[in-house]
């Protein structure tokens, strides 16, 4: 499905600000995998998502979806395979367009956009049905401007727009971090049910360890541009937040020791 091979990304190479964001990262996702990614600030989580979505070019290494390399594909072309929800609830929707217009845009993901009507009766019925699953009452507000919705509603809509065409890969970039706890819980629950409904191959970055353990069948921990821990479904099921913290401290300590020895 998604195969990441030895990806490296350095920001500002050759300057005093040089920073290695990803250092030889490899990761394989099988169809239906739901992987949660945790790690401290600057661990390279967001950079990893930006590499996959094509927002930033890869320095070296390869990236393939369904066996074919997408490394040289621009972001808008890769969007045919990759759906994405951003951290900022404002980022995933067009505020001046209506709910149904936003959904019509998302419906044509990766397809040619021609001169047929964007919102038809048939599509509207489909949108209504999909919005019903969010249980936010948005199905009765199809013509409302998205800019009028709350952050939580917009993020739920973004999630729907990123997923309902069933892209090969769904990327979630701390998509609950900017919401208040109640809304975050709502979007988390929705994420769980939408991913399960379409059996989407998903990569979710989060700061919330509890969420990382609760969702998905696999957990990956990143630190300083590397994947330092990869927990499979069986072990993840029994893991607790203190376990995770202990693991992090252990590995971090080890890497520090290595450096001390090398230095």
């Amino acid at each position: 499905m998604l195969l990441i091979e030895n990806i490296t990304k350095t920001f500002f190479p050759g300057t005093v600000n040089e920073r290695v964001a990803l250092n030889n990262v490899s990761l394989q996702l099988n169809t239906g995998d739901f992987v949660t990614v945790i790690g401290s600030n600057g661990a390279g989580k967001s950079t990893l998502l930006n590499m996959i979505s094509g927002k930033l070019p890869i320095d070296s290494g390869d990236l393939s979806i369904d066996g074919s390399s997408v490394k040289r594909m621009p972001d808008y072309a890769r969007a045919a395979y990759v759906g994405r929800v951003f951290q900022d609830p404002m980022a995933g929707t067009a505020p001046d367009l209506s709910i149904e217009q936003n959904l019509a845009l998302a419906l044509r993901r990766g397809q040619r956009r021609g001169l047929s009507w964007g919102v038809t009766h048939k599509r509207r019925a489909f949108f209504r049905e999909e919005l019903l699953s969010l249980e936010l009452g948005l199905e009765n507000r199809l013509k409302a401007r998205v800019g009028l919705l709350s952050g939580g509603q917009r993020q739920a809509l973004s999630l729907l727009m990123a997923s309902f065409t069933q892209p090969r890969i769904l990327l979630l970039d701390e998509h609950t971090a900017a919401l208040d706890p109640q809304r975050a819980e709502l979007v988390t629950t929705l994420t769980e049910s939408i991913v399960a409904k379409h059996n989407l191959t998903t990569l979710m970055v989060t700061h919330n360890m509890e969420q990382a353990l609760r969702l998905g069948n696999r957990l990956v921990m990143m630190h300083e541009g590397q994947i330092i821990l990869d927990v499979d479904a069986k072990r993840k099921a029994t893991m607790t937040v203190p376990d995770l913290l202990a693991e992090f401290a252990k590995i971090k300590g080890a890497s520090l020791d290595d450096r001390a020895l090398l230095g």
């Binding site: 979505s53 621009p74 972001d75 808008y76 072309a77 969007a79 045919a80 759906g83 994405r84 951003f86 404002m90 980022a91 995933g92 929707t93 067009a94 505020p95 001046d96 367009l97 217009q101 019509a104 845009l105 998302a106 044509r108 993901r109 990766g110 397809q111 956009r113 021609g114 001169l115 047929s116 009507w117 964007g118 919102v119 727009m161 990123a162």
Partner: protein
């Protein structure tokens, strides 16, 4: 007065073009000053060389579309700031327009133009020609309304509204930007071609300051008529163009110097942008919406 209405409706086509870039694409496109004249120049020289007027008019529009395309390519592929890209094309077009025309003024008085049948029938300056021009402007307005609600049109609206989002949904925003600039300048050039035939000549300087007329039409029209949806917004733009002509008509009637008209246009735009931010005017709802837009375009130009 009738002439002002006629001119307003004709200039409404140009204002619709400016609306596409300024409001829909969120792009301040200065190409307009040049492409308007390009449309007039191409149409006028073709008509003088015996090409039928309808064909010459379409050729003028097509030439304007090419100018928009150039600005779009400079902005997207060349990564040149939007304002500068427009200025570059506009300045270059000055020379190109002179080349097309061969001299700085081309009279069309004895040629067969689109206006000749109207003039011969004695309709110009009367209710019938106003009606005909209104229908023409409305046909283009409805075509734009339709276009913007297609899959392609929606992706153009989204390009101006949230570029990151629409790219993540698989739209090449370079392509939508270039396409919109081409359509916009095509409309502006079409207007130029029509105005040249209406007034009976093409002049190399006829496009100077036109962007302000376009902006004034869009801003004033939408302040007066609102912009709740595309249908109203595009209608308001035509209304704005008519209001603008009427303002000019009455200003001249009141004895103002025609040479001061550009200054008055600039002041009108500044007033339309600033007034909604002040005092009691804030309470007028349609103006309140504009205020947030004025603030929006201010932060837009800062971000660029």
């Amino acid at each position: 007065m009738n002439a002002a209405l006629e001119l307003g409706l004709l200039y409404g086509i140009m204002a619709l073009g400016v609306y596409l870039t300024f409001r829909i694409l969120n792009f301040p496109d200065l190409t307009v000053d040049g492409s308007f004249t390009t449309g007039a120049a191409v149409a006028a020289s073709l008509i003088i060389n015996g090409v039928p007027a309808p064909l010459a008019t379409l050729a003028g529009a097509a030439a304007g579309a090419v100018a928009g395309l150039v600005t779009g390519v400079l902005y997207t592929k060349g990564r040149i700031d939007g304002l500068l890209a427009g200025i570059l094309t506009m300045i270059a077009l000055w020379s190109i327009n002179l080349r097309i025309m061969g001299k700085s003024n081309l009279p069309l008085l004895r040629e067969d133009t689109l206006m000749t049948p109207l003039r011969d029938a004695g309709l110009l300056g009367g209710a019938w020609s106003i009606l005909i021009f209104a229908v023409a402007a409305l046909i283009i307005k409805f075509a734009i309304d339709w276009f913007l609600s297609t899959d392609l049109g929606l992706s153009i609206q989204a390009t101006g509204n949230n570029e990151q989002m629409i790219r993540s949904l698989g739209v090449n925003t370079h392509r939508t930007t270039i396409l919109t600039l081409a359509i916009s300048n095509g409309l502006v050039a079409l207007c130029g071609a029509l105005i040249a035939q209406y007034q009976g000549f093409a002049d190399v300087s006829m496009g100077i300051g036109l962007i302000l007329v376009g902006l004034a039409s869009v801003i004033v029209g939408q302040a007066v008529f609102g912009r709740r949806n595309i249908f109203l917004a595009s209608l308001a733009v035509i209304g704005g163009a008519v209001i603008y002509r009427l303002v000019i008509f009455f200003a001249l009637g009141a004895g103002l110097n025609p040479n001061d008209m550009k200054l008055i246009s600039a002041l009108l735009v500044v007033a339309a942008l600033l007034l909604p931010r002040w005092g009691i005017l804030k309470r007028i709802p349609s103006l309140r919406q504009m205020r947030s837009n004025a603030a929006g375009s201010a932060s837009y130009s800062k971000a660029n």
